[in-house]
Symmetry: C2
Subunit: 206 residues, 2 copies
């Protein structure tokens, strides 16, 4: 369901109570401090929370696997396998599933590598390092093509998302230094393009 990568902060579509079907009102419930969609019939409060995107950097010798997107947003651009964490799976299982779906590849998940906040789109990104089990891979339904890239071959100007571009930059930086560690950071909307999510700024934290 990669279309849902387009989901923006909050939901523009909460008009009715998913429990009883009555209309909801956006108001601050008693004891709370922020507006929620509240059903005036059954009094259910409908919370909305950020979503987790999980993925991995699949390694094969000195190269890494990238997928060229067959879907919007960013059709035709390159990324690592990643997508929304599903109910019923762990973070590493989610990263494995996305790799299988998008690149028909099997990976062993290694350690978490980047953990980014994308507050402006209500997402948290967690990208693992991973190792390809073998060199069998190919485009899944959501990919135009899949390939292995050395550092010199990375198509830096055609990477789909700022979060992935920064993940790859940090990956090769750490690899050159001979030491991989967890990187945390925020992806912020670009100062001159507050509503364009493809104009973003990276800020490394802790």
């Amino acid at each position: 369901m990669p279309e849902s990568l387009d989901i923006v902060k909050g939901s523009p579509n909460v008009n009715y109570c998913s429990h009883c079907g009555a209309p909801v009102t956006l108001r601050i419930p008693p004891g709370d401090d922020r507006p929620r969609y509240v059903c005036d019939a059954c009094h259910m409060i409908h919370y909305e929370n950020p979503k987790v995107v999980v993925g991995c950097i699949p390694e094969w010798e000195d190269r890494i696997l990238l997928c060229r997107r067959a879907i919007e947003p960013r059709h035709g651009f390159w990324t690592v396998p990643a997508g929304f964490l599903e109910t019923g799976e762990s973070l590493s299982e989610g990263a494995q599933r996305e790799t299988l779906e998008e690149a028909q590849a099997q990976v062993e998940i290694l350690t978490p590598f980047t953990l980014f906040d994308l507050v402006h789109v209500g997402q948290v990104y967690l990208i693992f390092r991973a190792r390809l089990i073998d060199d069998n891979f190919g485009p899944g339904e959501e990919s135009l093509e899949v390939g292995l890239f050395s550092e010199e071959e990375i198509p830096w100007n055609e990477i789909a998302f700022t979060s992935i571009q920064e993940t790859l930059r940090l990956y090769f930086q750490d690899r050159t230094a001979g030491n991989f560690s967890l990187h945390t950071g925020q992806i912020l909307p670009g100062a001159h393009h507050p509503t364009d999510r493809f104009q973003e700024i990276f800020m490394e934290t802790a």
Copy 2:
């Protein structure tokens, strides 16, 4: 909204479309591979995803801050400040907010310390290390009392959640070793109590 810590995998209450108010059906949408709540009137698919719980271990000299819960689940048991990540805040901002709400304390957030999957309740836990700005603290509305504890004073038999008990165990283990690093793991339902979330098993991963 700490009651929602009780939310279990999926939602038992999706009966109507939150967009148009028509009844939904649980079925596998075209191109998908798992059941979703789909509106047969407006065709909107209602995805459900895991929620992120953020918190921190607030340090003050050689002691850490714990809160005794004034709310269910686990009323009267001890925990570190933690709660659901909200839309519109970063992971570290969420941990700071929870600390202010539950312990009236201000913290500087340090590095991520534990990252746990709780697949059986549809949650991901991220607990940071943190430093109290000063020694001003007190019980917020959701806490009976708040206090500083040395390692010897930790009420190990009265810790509210397995995720927090393991976080504290790893914290003192790393502190003794003189080196804090990120720990990942899964909290699994107890083998003899698959439906009792307070009978849980910890399994460290990568």
